[in-house]
């Protein structure tokens, strides 16, 4: 009985809200209500391919800044969703200031120091750098608009974000030292020579980032992109976990930030929105 009364009460009290609005109210609705923010806009992304070619640099590497060539291919499924891939290839590497300062103190370790510190050649032989990064990514473009530069130059732009898996290839950063081997899965302190080892080869990681497209017209633009690539790495090739030996147990997740600038082509021809 109480349940039925409660149901009756609920229906009766909510019914007025569920009734459709009368014409008298509809006539005062703003003509802009529920309208898209931008009409007749050039659909710069929807159902279009994007190809980008450019170059960039790593940002936070410990020992070597990598100068990278960059390629990007994407298909925009909708205006705000795309699927794509990117490849970054090391063109050259530049030693960081930290690398130079550190190796300058490792020229000729003496006595007890020599037992604990590598010389500059050994230290250099253990260092690595990312040589190739291949990424698959889902891209979101939630923000689109236009801006005026100095009140005179106008351009369309958008902000985008992305994420996905990455395949990172690591390579030796500088000259080799025959006393420095490739990192073993598990080295023993008794081996006595495993203070430094180098890590190369491919590893699976992840990538995420974002950037801005600035369009010169409806098929050509410039893209500024900031990407973080996460992969297991030991850029120094030295002991990390404190077990007195260097091996693959010293690999840790490392972040490789890369900034790139691309020239971007979009095709086929852009549509005009309603």
């Amino acid at each position: 009985m109480m349940k039925r009364i409660a149901l009756t009460f609920l229906l009766a009290s909510t019914a007025p809200f569920a009734l459709p609005s009368s014409p008298a109210h509809a006539e005062h609705k703003s003509p802009l209500a529920d309208a898209p923010a931008i009409r007749k806009r050039v659909e710069l992304r929807d159902k279009r391919f994007e190809i980008g070619i450019g170059a960039g640099s790593t940002l936070n590497e410990t020992f070597y800044h990598g100068v990278m060539l960059n390629g990007h291919l994407a298909f925009h499924i909708t205006d705000w969703l795309a699927i794509g891939g990117a490849g970054l290839f090391s063109a050259t590497a530049i030693a960081t200031g930290f690398h130079d300062e550190l190796t300058s103190t490792l020229k000729s370790p003496q006595g007890l120091d020599a037992a604990r510190a590598p010389n500059a050649a050994e230290a250099g032989a253990g260092m690595n750098k990312p040589s190739m990064i291949l990424a698959g990514q889902i891209e979101l473009t939630p923000f689109t608009g236009k801006f005026a530069l100095f009140g005179g130059l106008f351009a369309h732009y958008d902000f985008y974000l992305y994420g996905g898996p990455a395949f990172v290839t690591l390579a030796k950063a500088s000259g080799s030292d025959p006393s420095v081997p490739a990192c073993k899965d598990k080295a023993l302190a008794a081996d006595g020579i495993n203070n430094t080892c180098y890590t190369t080869g491919s590893t699976v990681g992840a990538t995420f980032g974002g950037g801005i497209h600035s369009y010169f017209n409806d098929w050509f633009g410039l893209t500024l992109d900031l990407r973080d690539v996460l992969a297991k790495d030991n850029p120094a090739g030295r002991d990390v976990n404190g077990d007195q030996v260097a091996d693959k147990r010293d690999l840790t997740w490392s972040a490789h930030w890369v900034v790139t600038v691309n020239a971007t082509l979009l095709f086929p021809k852009a549509d005009i929105s309603p």
Partner: protein
């Protein structure tokens, strides 16, 4: 049965009252609405119960009768008033000229792999025009040594020479070279602008002695700075800001050959310190509170 009938009657009364309230809330927003309602009522009175319902399409037959003409005039006036909200060139969303901006912020250093600094600060800007501003900035820093710093000793038997930042005060000039707007999923529009800024100030730094038994010394270092960032306009008085700022610090570092027998005191160490130009790049986000909290357009719409 009687109890159920009473219950239903009370429920309908409550529901009806709620519906009336919702009705009132829906029609209170504009004076033009009230006027339209009043005009509509008079039209109803003229036409009696047989007056046709208003046509909201805007395409009315104006030859019908006086009631219809009145109703048509009412609807036409209503929709004209609403369409007046649409202008060919909208005014700028936000005016800053002659206003103060208080902008507390927090951020982190991004370019030092051995020591990270977190910053908490306040920008106080006065906008001479909409594009130019002059301001003061105060920063307080908190340091954190990175994992890489802790590995230097283990991997290379070395202790890095590092300084930490304590505070800084700067005089900055700002300029807005670009402004724009963006649509969020093509549903709403947000206005924003790019800000570039530069100036000069003082940063107080302190060495972190390699040997912790040694005394530290402080330096008041001249600090030119340049920055680039953005403001996003939320309300007439509130923005959300971010900024990348490079503090170029002419700093003094602990001498490399400092020992118990050489430059052990802070004064001696500072006298023989190694000078170095350091780029401390910070990224910070904050909010901007503008005073006065409102502004008036000086040009007609």
């Amino acid at each position: 049965m009687k109890r159920r009938a009473v219950c239903l009657f009370v429920s309908i009364l409550i529901g009806g009252a709620g519906g009336t309230g919702a009705w009132a809330a829906g029609s209170k927003d504009k004076a033009e609405t009230k006027e339209a309602d009043a005009a509509g009522a008079s039209a109803d009175a003229a036409g009696g119960a047989e007056a046709p319902p208003p046509d909201t399409s805007g395409d009315l037959d104006l030859t019908d009768n006086k009631a219809s003409e009145d109703a048509a005039a009412t609807i036409k006036a209503s929709s004209t008033l609403t369409w007046q909200d649409i202008v060919v060139i909208p005014r700028k969303r936000f005016l800053k000229g002659g206003r103060f901006e208080f902008s507390p912020f927090a951020g982190t250093s991004i370019n030092d792999i051995l020591i990270q600094h977190y910053v908490f600060g306040l920008d106080l800007n006065f906008f001479i025009t909409d594009a130019f501003s002059i301001g003061l900035q105060g920063d307080y820093y908190v340091k954190q040594l990175t994992d890489r710093e802790s590995l230097i000793g283990l991997q290379y038997n070395r202790i890095p020479t590092l300084n930490r930042y304590l505070w800084s005060g700067l005089l900055n000039f700002g300029y807005v070279p670009a402004y724009g707007k963006f649509a969020l999923f093509n549903k709403s529009i947000v206005h924003w602008e790019i800000v570039v800024s530069g100036g000069v100030g003082i940063t107080q730094t302190e060495i972190i002695p390699r040997n912790i038994s040694f005394e530290a010394f402080k330096t008041n270092a001249i600090t030119p700075d340049v920055g680039i960032g953005s403001r996003f306009f939320l309300f007439d008085w509130l923005t959300v800001n971010y900024m990348f700022r490079d503090y170029i610090i002419l700093d003094k570092y602990e001498p490399l050959n400092r020992s118990a027998s050489m430059y052990a005191s802070a004064t001696e160490a500072k006298a023989h310190a190694d000078s170095k130009l350091v780029n401390n790049i910070m990224f910070y986000v904050g909010v901007g509170v503008f005073l006065p909290t409102s502004f008036q357009y000086k040009t007609p719409r």
